[in-house]
Symmetry: C2
């Protein structure tokens, strides 16, 4: 079976990380294995401070350093940039039931789109493969810019509804 | 080409990490891509403090969390224990010229053995596939327990000699 890859997209501060954190917890409680891939958003490499051991090797020049203990692994490595497919391949080694991408707007995977302001509804026109919309409270779910897409529309805070919808898709 | 896997073994405090750190630096300066795999030695999972982002996802229940930025990736994940081959497969994704294992004494890969005390020479009898011995100063390189193995013997501190020997093997 091919591992499904889903994206959670939205402008900065649209609540992607918070949404994903609750989602991961929900799916875990239902016995699903998840994996998550995120682009470090603020420029530069990921915040320092990976496992002390792996970091020492990495600083000394290892292209990749992996430390494992009691079933937990910490890995840091250098790759060509924009190697999304390699990153996905790494995550697939963990045999997840689903992989979520936070961001990577231009990728073609099915997307859950978080919209914080009406002005951001244009995102739906710009992105490929939108599958569901999560609106911040105050945005009209019957907004005319939403109509053409005919997508399931949720309001932020309806976590259970949204998560069940995702679960339904996974179980199909 | 199959990626060579070499082990650096020895009792605790025999200098494995220090040796590997210099080796990684030396090989990097010569344009070689290295990868390193280590078992977290003190029991428990690797020391906390992975990338803040990946750790949040991981704590929320993700089986694997990967954060990438400017060509550096940080990954933490859960695996069945003793999945050395999976860990090696993860490292191979980085296309290293050589992978070093620190420890994992019982594995069959070619080994560089660090010996701190004469009493530890018995290690050579216990381990499979020893290829070179590094003795701490004060141990006689002509010790009778070394003779049967007919291995290259180095003394700790002769880093350049040892590293060149390893480089020679890699270039063969």
């Amino acid at each position: 079976m091919v591992t499904p890859v889903w994206q959670v997209v939205g402008y900065q501060n649209s609540g992607k990380t918070t949404f994903i954190l609750s989602l991961l917890e929900y799916l875990k409680d239902r016995g699903l294995q998840t994996a998550i891939l995120k682009h470090h958003g603020h420029g530069g490499t990921p915040d320092a401070a990976v496992t002390k051991d792996s970091d020492r090797y990495f600083q000394a020049g290892a292209g990749a350093a992996l430390v494992e203990g009691e079933g937990v692994i910490h890995l840091q490595g250098r790759m060509e940039e924009k190697s999304l497919h390699k990153s996905l391949a790494l995550l697939m080694a963990f045999e997840p039931d689903i992989i979520f991408l936070e961001g990577y707007k231009k990728e073609p995977y099915p997307k859950i789109v978080l919209i914080r302001e009406e002005g951001h509804l244009s995102l739906l026109e710009e992105l490929a493969n939108c599958q569901a919309v999560i609106l911040w409270p105050g945005i009209n779910p019957a907004h005319e810019r939403l109509l053409p897409f005919n997508l399931p529309i949720f309001t932020l805070g309806q976590d259970k509804l949204i998560f069940n919808w995702i679960l339904g898709i996974l179980e199909d």
